[in-house]
């Protein structure tokens, strides 16, 4: 019994003791009344609510509070991702083996087509490893986009039943894709060694590249999750967008070989997918580092050799490396700046975009 309630509560206490009869306190319905006020004091309900520190039920928390809640749910995010990942293959007879088999079979298809059937190199010294890395890295981002576009509708039951920062779900989906990416990397290691790429200290650069790509994916995933929650058409449209993106990112060819003007090449090269793919290739493949355009002083004759003989079928080993004497579309030293910039931009924009609609998820 505190004093602050006393003026409002006095009549109600009496009715509560009696145990019967109509509720006489502020809980009384103002049936038909135009403005709702507390029955006893005549105080507007909105002010009553404010006085007791109640907030509108659909109010989003501030950014710091939201980030704090999200950090508190980090165990949930990890457990959610792991459980979802495990559940993916429970129906399959081979079970968890598919975690490894899927990237392995993917790589197998590319080996069969590009390595054995077409036998092309397209001016690239280790074309098979080049393609496999491109596909794995691009898949990480592509699958993030596709899966986060439906994350809010897929987990509607969870959203409606429990209170938690909704951003935990898209972030959890990105963690699922990251876990699968790590399995892909494990598959990649023997492929690289078998195709003659030595194990070097450069491989450690994979950690920052993958971290940046994950941050980029989280930002994009948050934005796509909101779009997908509000407009169902997004998930229908996405496969076409990502396929276009695939061909613009040099996944199965080198952007340097394209017959387009220099500024288009530069644009293609600074697109985030191409950046993370190139940085991963440079980290893991010595052949890519040695043949990267701009890595040797420009030499018109040798560059021309690469563009003509180097890109034809049956090019000599040496001609494949002559791309090093060409101009680079983007200064290789600047690739990292762009990669960091994209990750930061995506995270900030994606987070705010998602957070602004926090109270809208689960509606409808």
């Amino acid at each position: 019994m505190t004093d602050q309630r006393a003026p409002l509560r006095a009549p109600q206490a009496a009715s509560q003791d009696s145990g019967s009869g109509r509720l006489a306190g502020p809980g009384q319905l103002q049936s038909g009344a135009a403005t709702a006020t507390a029955a006893v004091s005549g105080e507007p309900l909105a002010e009553l609510a404010r006085r007791y520190g109640l907030r509108p039920s659909a109010m989003r928390p501030s950014v710091p509070a939201y980030l704090r809640q999200l950090w508190q749910r980090r165990h949930f995010i990890l457990a959610f991702a792991t459980a979802r990942n495990m559940a993916l293959y429970t129906e399959a007879r081979l079970g968890q083996l598919w975690q490894v088999l899927t990237p392995l079979l993917n790589a197998g298809v590319y080996w069969l087509i590009f390595g054995e059937l077409l036998r092309i190199s397209r001016g690239i010294p280790n074309y098979f490893a080049f393609v496999v890395i491109g596909v794995f890295v691009f898949n990480f981002t592509q699958r993030t986009f596709i899966s986060t576009s439906t994350v809010m509708t897929q987990n509607l039951d969870l959203i409606r039943a429990l209170q938690f920062p909704r951003a935990a779900l898209p972030v959890g989906y990105v963690v699922i894709e990251l876990q699968q990416m790590l399995v892909s990397v494990a598959v990649l290691v023997p492929i690289l060694l078998a195709t003659g790429e030595p194990l070097t200290w450069h491989w450690l650069l994979l950690v920052p590249v993958l971290t940046l790509q994950t941050i980029f994916n989280i930002g994009c995933g948050l934005a796509v999750a909101r779009l997908g929650a509000q407009v169902n058409d997004v998930s229908q449209l996405l496969p076409f967008l990502t396929r276009t993106w695939l061909y613009a990112s040099g996944v199965i060819f080198s952007i340097s070989t394209l017959n387009v003007s220099g500024w288009v090449k530069s644009l293609l090269q600074i697109n985030p997918a191409a950046l993370y793919i190139t940085l991963t290739r440079n980290a893991l493949m010595i052949t890519e580092r040695q043949s990267a355009p701009g890595s040797k002083p420009y030499n018109q004759a040798l560059c021309h050799t690469w563009h003509t003989i180097g890109q034809s079928n049956g090019a000599s080993r040496k001609a494949l490396y002559d791309s090093a004497y060409c101009h680079s579309a983007i200064n290789p030293a600047h690739l990292w700046y762009y990669a960091i910039g994209w990750a930061a931009l995506a995270l900030v924009v994606g987070f705010f975009f998602f957070w602004r609609a926090e109270t809208g998820y689960g509606r409808g």
Binding site: Q28, A46, L48, S57, R73, R363
Partner: protein, 277 residues
């Protein structure tokens, strides 16, 4: 519980649903194309005024039963309190932590019951240690037994809603909204959940209960709101008389009650009417 301070304030709440796809737009591809080419909004939007100006205050420790016919706005009210529906007009004020338990059985139905318990606890903001500590009591409470290792897809609707309730009730919520979630439970579970709701109330939480089983409302709730077409017909702390009015209005058989305790008198043979004095 003499202390009464407001936990939920509903102030002149109106909720309007916008329903698509009525009438001439039959939803074919050609119809959609014509609509987009003609730059028309969906002609077939129909507004359903589900709640029409509700106002009430619910205090800490109250258990509020919401009764009314199908389509009277009970579920809509709960979802508005949970913050899942935007108000067309008016407002709902709460302490900010409202959990809604609906009829759909699973949280993450392709995962096992065990995973659902752990993820549910973590999502509600419990730490790993708390989750581990509460795990066994949640499983025991739900009574799903060996099924805990199976995916929730395999659960009967009763088992699913029991586990769901057990998870949500493991934490003391300030506002717990139960929308027919207990309807599929068996008699034993009903007793347990009833006890848990009383506990939640004494932990200074507020419980809203939507149920077509009026006896459950009488047993569990200390207040009741009777809705009809989105408006309150009657409400108050005398749950039994409101329920009786509701039964009379819907043309049901009057319930025979003990004149002193006002409990229902069961007519079954061999069932001693224990409450008679």
């Amino acid at each position: 519980m003499a202390v009464a301070d407001p936990m939920v304030v509903v102030d002149d709440l109106h909720v309007v649903y916008k329903v698509y796809g009525r009438g001439h737009d039959r939803g074919t591809a050609a119809a959609s194309l014509l609509r987009i080419l003609g730059r028309r909004r969906r002609a077939s939007i129909r507004e359903v005024h589900a709640l029409r100006g509700l106002s009430f205050v619910v205090n800490r420790g109250d258990a509020v039963g919401v009764i009314g016919r199908n389509g009277s706005g009970k579920s809509t009210l709960l979802r508005a309190i949970a913050g899942l529906l935007p108000a067309e007009q008016g407002n709902v004020y709460t302490t900010g932590e409202a959990a809604l338990l609906g009829v759909n059985a699973a949280l993450l139905e392709d995962l096992t019951g065990e995973r659902n318990v752990i993820l549910g606890c973590l999502a509600m903001g419990m730490s790993k240690q708390e989750t581990r500590a509460k795990y066994q009591s949640i499983v025991d409470f739900s009574g799903v037994g060996d099924f805990i290792d199976l995916s929730m897809k395999t659960y009967s609707s009763g088992m699913g809603s029991r586990l769901r309730f057990a998870i949500a009730a493991a934490k003391s919520h300030e506002v717990l909204l139960i929308d027919e979630a207990l309807a599929t439970g068996d008699a034993e579970f009903r007793v347990k959940s009833h006890a848990r709701i009383q506990e939640l109330r004494s932990e200074a939480g507020t419980v809203f209960l939507v149920a077509h089983n009026l006896e459950e409302i009488e047993l569990t709730c200390n207040r009741v709101i009777w809705l009809e077409r989105g408006q309150i017909v009657e409400q108050g702390e005398d749950v039994i008389s409101v329920v009786d009015h509701y039964i009379a209005a819907s043309g049901g058989q009057p319930v025979s009650r003990d004149p002193v305790t006002r409990r229902r008198i069961k007519a079954e043979v061999g069932q001693p009417t224990a409450a008679t004095s």
